[in-house]
């Protein structure tokens, strides 16, 4: 199925809803005094987008005629693909947007006269991510990535009176400019080698007339700069700690969950269907001559090790979580290098789990920051004993889940990643991953220690939990525990979503 511009619109409801919500927010922003309402519009818009996205596959409900069955294809003259992989990521991304908007409603940093712009740009960023997840053309891949980057810069610098926020935005902008410049240069090499920007045609061209290995390799490394920057993999991770530190907390959460997921979607779609071939028994072969799995193997090991080691000594919890999210990019990349369907679905499953626990951790950081104005470890001292027993318990669940301890969802996610790695007989990678999990326990447990084991100092006040954050925290922590005990439905969803549309 290959649809033109007008027919394609019928399959673009989620994106359409996002666009309408953005417009609605900007318009209402002009007329109302009470800016609090704008967040609610954003929440409704994002939730509707989620319902319509998941309606495409999840509940078996058909919101869109003709989609089930032969329900995959190219839209807009092969610019984007509508397949189960894209829908999976759209679900995750709209969940991220919903979570972030919900979180922002209870944030003191966001609360201000410019809320309208904030929510509008946040949804716009989500819109860009939707396209990142489904782009099957290098041009659209680049455009959507840039769109997401530009909106992220603005979101990062949203706190105009805060110097750190401005500094973070500028750093993000400079790093992002370099990375995307490098990436588009790599894309031009690919275009030169294959004569096309379309993924399917690139794949066919690479298989037929074997290109010069070195040239292709250089092109891929250049492109990896862009992808690696979005997922915060070493050596393109340098922006992450500063940006995570400086950005408002909901934005940090959004970058660490949504932006990373979208980056992985782009990475997987380019490296799997475009550069590899699906073989027997769920295994993939990469295009002969370009051994990118070896390269990514090293990237994965270095990323998780560096992220974890750097996190050991952090005192700002946002910064610590930034390094932890670098480490988690490394873990997810473990599934990427094994070149099998097991690896792919382990990655997808991990992204779901990572969404739950990382978003949850940032919400607790925000609750503490709302009450005490502090984001460092000291602000967490004795949290459980000064009225914050519930957020502290939730934080403990999220952190131990990030460590990968059963019976929490993070363990199951890591279990599938390690299973894929062991099955592919990458024993060294498994050992490095395991050792990293042990190292990570130390710094996660340090936060738990500060919350539970240390006595509260007299200076810090009580920590109260407002209903917005409390309900979201409850949902996320219960989901983290439940997914650790019974995860079959989510796993099946991830399993169904490893199918790419390659043209028929």
């Amino acid at each position: 199925m290959n649809l033109g511009s007008i027919e394609s619109l019928a399959y673009l409801y989620p994106e359409g809803i996002l666009v309408l919500s953005i417009l609605a927010i900007f318009l209402v922003d002009l007329c109302v005094e009470d800016k609090e309402r704008l967040g609610n519009i954003a929440l409704v818009g994002a939730a509707l987008a989620l319902v319509f996205t998941s309606g495409l596959s999840f509940f078996g409900v058909r919101f869109i005629e003709g989609l089930q069955g032969a329900g995959e294809g190219w839209l807009f003259h092969r610019m984007i693909a509508l397949d189960s992989f894209a829908i999976f990521f759209k679900v995750i991304l709209s969940l991220s947007v919903v979570g972030t908007v919900w979180m922002s409603l209870g944030s003191r940093e966001i609360n201000g006269p410019n809320q309208g712009e904030y929510y509008g740009i946040l949804l716009a960023s989500g819109l860009g991510m939707f396209f990142m997840a489904s782009a099957t053309n290098l041009l659209l891949a680049y455009l959507s990535l840039e769109f997401v980057s530009l909106t992220s810069y603005v979101l990062t610098g949203y706190l105009t009176r805060n110097r750190r926020s401005g500094e973070a935005a500028l750093k993000y902008l400079i790093y992002g400019g370099v990375a995307s410049g490098t990436m588009i240069y790599g894309m031009s090499w690919i275009f030169g080698l294959t004569g096309s920007l379309d993924y399917a045609e690139i794949n066919a061209a690479l298989l037929q007339n074997a290109p010069d290995h070195l040239t292709l390799f250089i092109a891929l490394v250049l492109m990896l700069a862009g992808f690696g920057y979005k997922i915060a993999a070493v050596p393109f991770h340098m922006w992450a700690p500063d940006v995570y530190h400086g950005a408002p907390i909901p934005v940090t959460a959004f970058l660490s969950v949504g932006s990373k997921a979208a980056g992985f979607a782009l990475l997987m779609r380019f490296f799997y269907p475009a550069l590899s071939q699906s073989g027997d028994a769920g295994m993939w072969q990469f295009v002969p001559g370009v051994e990118w799995p070896q390269l990514m193997l090293i990237v994965a090991m270095v990323t998780m090790t560096l992220g974890n080691l750097a996190a050991l000594n952090q005192h700002n919890v946002k910064r610590l979580l930034a390094y932890s999210s670098i480490a988690h990019a490394g873990y997810i990349l473990m599934g990427f290098v094994v070149l099998s369907d097991e690896g792919l679905r382990a990655m997808l499953f991990y992204i779901v789990v990572y969404y739950l626990m990382n978003l949850g951790a940032f919400i607790v950081v925000m609750v503490v920051a709302n009450n005490t104005g502090r984001e460092d470890l000291e602000g967490f001292r004795g949290l459980a004993w000064r009225g914050g027993a519930l957020p502290a318990a939730a934080m403990a669940i999220f952190l131990f889940s990030l460590t990968g301890l059963p019976p929490l969802a993070g363990f199951i996610g890591k279990f599938y990643l390690f299973a894929a790695v062991v099955k592919g007989q990458f024993y060294w990678l498994a050992v490095v991953g395991i050792l990293n999990s042990v190292v990570s326990l130390y710094y996660y447990a340090r936060i738990v220690k500060t919350m539970f084991l240390d006595e509260p100092s007299d200076l810090e006040g009580e920590v109260a939990l407002d209903p917005h954050n409390g309900s979201l925290l409850a949902i996320l922590s219960v989901a983290t525990v439940v997914l650790g005990v019974y995860w079959a439905p989510v796993f099946d969803f991830a399993d169904r979503s490893t199918r790419f549309f390659l043209g028929s």
């Binding site: 363990f411 042990v438 220690k449 796993f491």
Partner: protein, 523 residues
Amino acid sequence: MESSILTLMIFFPLAGMVTVFCLPSQAKDLIRWTAFAFTLPAFFLGIWLYLNFDTTTTALQFVVNVPWIESFNIRYFVGVDGVSISMILLTAVLCPICILASWNIERAEKGYFALFLLLDTAMTGVFCAMDFFLFFIFWELMLLPMYFLIGIWGGPRREYAAIKFFLYTMLGSALMLVCMLVFYFQAGAVEGVGYTFDLTQLPAVAQHFQTEPLLLGFSLPQIMWLALFINFAVKIPAFPFHTWLPDAHVEAPTAISVILAGVLLKMGTYGILRVNYPLLPAETFFFAPYCLAALGAWNIVYGAFCALAQCFTEPKDLKKLVAYSSISHMGYVMLGMASFTPQGINGAVLQMFNHGTITAMLFLIVGVIYDRAHHRRIDGFGGLASVMPVYTGVMGLAFFAAMGLPGLSAFISEVLCLLGAWHTHKIPTLLGALTVIITASYLLWTIQQMFLGKPREEYADMHLSEINTRELCMLVPLGAIVVILGFYPHAVLDLLDVSLQGLNEVVLSASTNSSDAAAVALR
């Protein structure tokens, strides 16, 4: 109904945890009694299990085997056989006693008892699980409550002790996770087995591993054996992975020390019997003389000398002495296991049970005196016998049992371990037997310093009251078990015998098979 008995034993405490969470945190007595009430069903079910256990078969009993996660063939598979029955009973007996021992906990009672009940669920689960994945889940589930129980309610250096315990165990279990996955995928390649975590089917996989050297001259199954052994050795704790134990014990509250020494340490040796023995029998036979016999003997000697040192070096901590003595006593278990003789392996598992009861008594006794005097310095007392005569009597029973006095339970099991090991490992056995002298000397020295002589004058200010009814309720049942098993060890031995001999057979036949194969290769 009958088959769900294990499930009930595992999850009753979990229901208790939920109930405790729902109670108001001001109702402290209600919380205590509720927690106690939720450990009792497991205790009574344990008695029922003991009476209805079929001692004539090696097969699993009271089995529940239902699919849990079908896409990975993970099953909820619990069952009990002779290897695990004594440990399940030990857990069922110790948990209510530990709740009683926790009566004086004074901070966040709700959290304490809820976590304790979670720990109870995890421990029972480890001993019942027959699916490797389920085993791993329960194994890791113990870590979280233990970390908080030591870290929040422990002594002055509790944070250090808690994180050290956590890191050591996590490192071990991470190795186990990889081994588990290797087994799973290897099983998938074996005809007639298929992808499974079922511990009763995985033994069929052992012969299908590649045996050429992989790393430093060790083959893949040998490396896996060592990785699994390290995981379990951390828990035993075997030298050189033992250093978390003295810290954890010294800082933990009394009841948690009892659980640590009474149940958690047994998980190390139990895991070796449950996983290493049947799944990698040839490697077990290959490594046993070094990793189990020699290391076990070294554990006996080293632990005893470290305990002796507590009598003479500051801070002369009684609890530390007991902690090191349990490292020493776990050495007998390892030595007995390594013998592959009927006496040795029976003695080893009986020693696991006996050590569980005796060390529990020792830690409870330390707790009783600490509650009154708020210190545990061996040289800080003297002449306690005339101030607290009943307490001294109970203490005497426990100390002499730990010493291995004939007529008390540990004597039988230690002698069985040594007798069994004598044929195969002469020097380790000799070392183990001679160490009894060191054990006697540190225990007698302690008794002399603390209990004999003239009562001290400062006791008037210390308000050393005689042991009370609650404390007697914890100690007397354990004391009774120690005495009864001293005269009639068959009460436990009969449960174990058949299954353990079956396990022995598996290892011995695998070793003869592999030596036959080596002989064929030589020809």
